[in-house]
């Protein structure tokens, strides 16, 4: 069965500092990985997905199959980046998301 692990429940950085939110997964096949973000009192929103290889709001994530990781990175954190971040996995042919436990990012001024 697939599993997604986010080892940090809370990550606190100062504005302008680099950010890396860790995500590791276990899955026997070739998964699709996502990052969802939840700002205060808002819904879960898709931030980015592995397959599109894009940068959204300055965030990037690279799938490392050797390390089974999909860490989320941003070179310079902004206060508005403060939110809950969830890493999620989907089987290629499926429609079920398996979520990690989430990491709360706090960006201090």
């Amino acid at each position: 069965a697939q599993r997604v692990t986010q080892p940090e429940k809370l990550l606190s950085v100062f504005k302008g500092a680099p950010v890396e939110l860790k995500c590791n997964y276990s899955y026997s096949g070739s998964p699709e990985l996502f990052w969802y973000v939840q700002y205060s009192r808002q819904r879960l929103q898709l931030l980015l997905r592995h397959i599109s290889r894009e940068s959204i709001k300055g965030f990037t994530a690279d799938l490392n199959k050797g390390e089974t990781s999909f860490h989320l990175k941003k070179p310079f954190a902004q206060e508005e980046d403060s939110a809950m971040y969830y890493c999620a996995l989907m089987e290629n042919a499926g429609n079920m998301l398996t979520f990690g436990g989430g990491t709360r990012l706090m960006v201090k001024p």
């Binding site: 998964p31 699709e32 969802y36 808002q42 819904r43 879960l44 929103q45 898709l46 997905r49 397959i51 599109s52 969830y86 999620a88 989907m90 089987e91 290629n92 042919a93 499926g94 429609n95 079920m96 998301l97 398996t98 979520f99 990690g100 436990g101 989430g102």
Partner: protein, 117 residues
């Protein structure tokens, strides 16, 4: 931008009572989902629904749970006899297609917070 909407935003119910959570998926979407998040825990998949039937369900989705699309717009989750451990945030979601490689995006509602007392 179209959104998934959920009602109620918060419901308190007594143990043993039936609860219906309602969702209006995005209008041109064909796939519908329920997820839940117990306080302090992971977001967990409950069920997916397509073409008026359940396409996938987790082990959490036992006989106490049911889903229905009673009309062309609503998608409901019913918990027949609530237990204390059913207290959670319930998220409805929808998508236009299935499978990750199709560029499928699952859109979530804001959630319904259920408290069982």
């Amino acid at each position: 931008e179209p959104e998934v909407t959920q009602t109620p935003s918060h419901q308190v119910t007594q143990m043993g009572q039936e609860v219906i959570l309602r969702c209006v998926p995005i209008s041109n979407h064909l796939y519908f989902y329920w997820y839940r998040q117990i306080l302090g825990q992971k977001v967990e998949f409950l069920v997916s629904f397509y073409n008026n039937e359940i396409s996938e369900k987790s082990e959490i989705f036992d006989d106490q749970f049911s889903v229905e699309r009673p009309d062309g717009s609503n998608f409901t989750l019913k918990i027949r006899s609530t237990k204390l451990e059913d207290s959670a945030m319930y998220f409805c979601a929808s998508s236009a297609s299935v499978g990750a490689l199709s560029g499928n995006t699952i859109y979530f509602g804001e959630g319904s917070w259920l408290t069982v007392v």
